[in-house]
Symmetry: C2
């Protein structure tokens, strides 16, 4: 939990695409995975990184896991970026 973790999570194109997909609502791990040419375990790995970075959270429902976007961390990053730009 820190900027390093967040930026590392955001540095991978697949992970950014996952976030874009979740913008329209929660999805199961399987449905997310179907959009990529990757194995399940690889998808699971990326989801874990996004989860550890607090960019998504999971909700278990039956034997599915729904992933939700969490944008609160992005707010903090935008504050830092604004300060870099000199916006006080």
């Amino acid at each position: 939990m820190g900027f390093a973790e967040t930026f590392k999570a955001l540095s991978d194109p697949a992970r950014r695409e996952i976030l874009d997909m979740l913008k329209d609502g929660p999805m199961t791990a399987g449905d997310i995975g179907n959009h990529f040419d990757m194995t399940g375990p690889t998808m699971s790995y990326h989801l874990k990184i996004l989860k550890n970075a607090d960019l998504i959270y999971e909700e278990k429902q039956k034997n599915f896991i729904f992933y939700h976007l969490n944008t609160s961390v992005l707010e903090e990053i935008m504050v830092w970026m604004s300060s870099l730009k000199g916006d006080k």
Copy 2:
């Protein structure tokens, strides 16, 4: 040049600190390096990554190189982040 490169550049704490330092005005590679417990070559490596990510640019003056902050790339990232947040 792309989000991947930018986020990777931002994922390192030393590199983020360099950007914070440059917020107050340009600095030479040497002066930047003096703030860190790192060798010159390591500093040079980080500066190159920031430069390739277009987050800084250099201006040669005598036998010094002054590094300047460049925030235009951050704007694009903030636009993407805003869209994730649903700010249309």
